[in-house]
Symmetry: C2
């Protein structure tokens, strides 16, 4: 089939909650949508052991089960996941071309919903115990550690804020930082030092995460003295950076210094044919519920753009 014969209404990149929500809405709205994912979809949700803060879903169920329901909903409206990896986007005023590993797609619009990846520490035990005491999101998992002692790793804004957040929920927090000072803002540090259940291990690094089925402790090394020690915690929260999966849009849309895509409240980017939703977006709260909301907002606005307005009058630059 030639390009002109097969122009899709929208190509959705990423099959996590944002992409699947957009699949449900664009499919249900009668659009011709292609949903691309390198894996089987679900994204980071697949790593969540118990979801208890997604509104409307109780029990709690696992992330894999929740993602599976969303995938089936999207399929039921005609939008199934196509396995492919996006390499590059080519744009003209009239059309987008999405170049992938297996195939190229022509489309009127694109939704970037390929998420972000947490930078891992890269130490033994971390991968194996992710979702079993190792977490990259205090808002998601903090409540599972009530009355317990947890470690937070990092020294930037996120690490300090999340340590303060956790201190209200858990018994005790130990912040582990490689250096002897924090990069977080002063007011954030004040909050940290004011909390009487937070202590800081300066100049220290985690060498190994201990435990069989659940985290039972951390092997620590003091980087100045070389002294080893062990910290008995049941949880480790790692906040050493987040990497948006936005490389394929570099130079095409506006991003912040970290590569997160800038949008307005309608999920529109600076390119009138490109929308962004979920963790890939600047200012995303990085929750399943917010990714879903973003995906729906994007789908509704893609629909509206295709139906009503000329593309060049859309985006209000922030």
């Amino acid at each position: 089939m030639s390009q002109a014969e097969n122009i899709h209404d929208v190509v959705i990149v990423g099959g996590g909650p944002a992409g699947l929500a957009a699949g449900i809405y664009t499919g249900r709205g009668g659009l011709d949508a292609v949903l691309l994912d390198m894996m089987g979809g679900g994204g980071q949700v697949n790593t969540i052991d118990r979801v208890e803060n997604y509104p409307g879903v109780v029990d709690p169920e696992s992330g894999i089960e929740l993602a599976d329901i969303m995938r089936k909903q999207s399929e039921s409206f005609g939008v199934a996941i196509t396995f492919d990896e996006v390499k590059k986007i080519e744009t003209t005023d009239e059309l987008l071309t999405v170049n992938c590993t297996s195939e190229n797609y022509s489309a009127k619009t694109l939704l970037a919903a390929s998420g972000a990846s947490h930078r891992p520490l890269g130490v033994p035990g971390e991968g194996r115990l992710t979702g079993r005491g190792v977490s990259y999101c205090a808002t998601c998992d903090g409540a599972f550690f009530r009355g317990q002692h947890v470690a937070v790793v990092g020294g930037g804004s996120s690490a300090v804020m999340e340590a303060v957040y956790l201190s209200r929920i858990v018994e005790r927090v130990t912040l582990i930082h490689r250096r002897d000072s924090l990069r977080a803002e002063k007011i954030q540090q004040d909050r940290l030092f004011a909390a009487d259940n937070i202590e800081v291990l300066w100049d220290c690094a985690v060498e190994e995460v201990l435990g069989n089925n659940e985290v039972s402790g951390l092997k620590i090394k003091n980087l100045k003295t070389g002294d080893p020690s062990q910290l008995d915690v049941t949880g480790m929260f790692v906040f050493i950076g987040l990497i948006p999966n936005s490389t394929f849009l570099k130079g095409v849309v506006e991003m912040d210094d970290f590569g997160f895509i800038k949008t307005d409240t309608r999920m529109r980017t600076i390119n009138p044919r490109i929308f962004a939703a979920g963790d890939i977006r600047q200012d995303s709260a990085r929750q399943i519920g917010t990714a879903v909301g973003d995906g729906i907002t994007a789908a509704v606005n893609i629909q509206e753009m295709l139906d009503t307005v000329t593309p060049d009058r859309q985006y209000v630059k922030s």
Copy 2:
């Protein structure tokens, strides 16, 4: 208890999906939150017969059931609904006072999540058959009318857009408008007239919605000739206006001409202590999933504001 002894972290106004999602997140995050609703919560969701487009929830279940789950989740994290009606907000730099019918509340922040109401036609049968063929949301309910003939009432942008949207899903659409011209933009009208399954009844008004348990037709009157007629449709979609429940914030936050509250992508308003989420917000896509996303985003940013930043450096005016 004196005011100074009882300053809540946040007062959430409205117990629909946006307010309940915020209740879940603020409660789970250890904040002292008060959730106010005039009724038992759920909001417009209670009027939905079958929810099939809320990601992660299948079956489909009724709106009442879905709202009930969200309410129980919020309660499980310590945030139950308090029955009260907000009358007025008083603000100082340090504090908000929320004046209600039964009580006054002092709080550091406020989340406006009191939604919007669809303006009804006000004709016999309309109320009784709402959710049984009478709808105020094509995106929500259009898919239930596949292969059927439906009416759309109104002549503005929403009515014309929703008619075009429905024309891709249903068999046939009849647009009913009181006047002999439409208020929608030309490009929208072009789309409408280009669709071969949309017809327009000019100068006509609906006098009554017919049907016992489901809509079976409409009693129509031509306003110029006075001639009565009957239209056999199984659905009626009404788009004659939406009224945000934002009166209590008039003069306190920035609103558009219709009273919808302006926010940035973090749900912050021009007042650093006041956030808005859901249908009450300008540019809301007015879906359960987007209200939930908004509520969570607001909760996360309220949390962050209380923890880290001085209120006067928050809002980026659009």
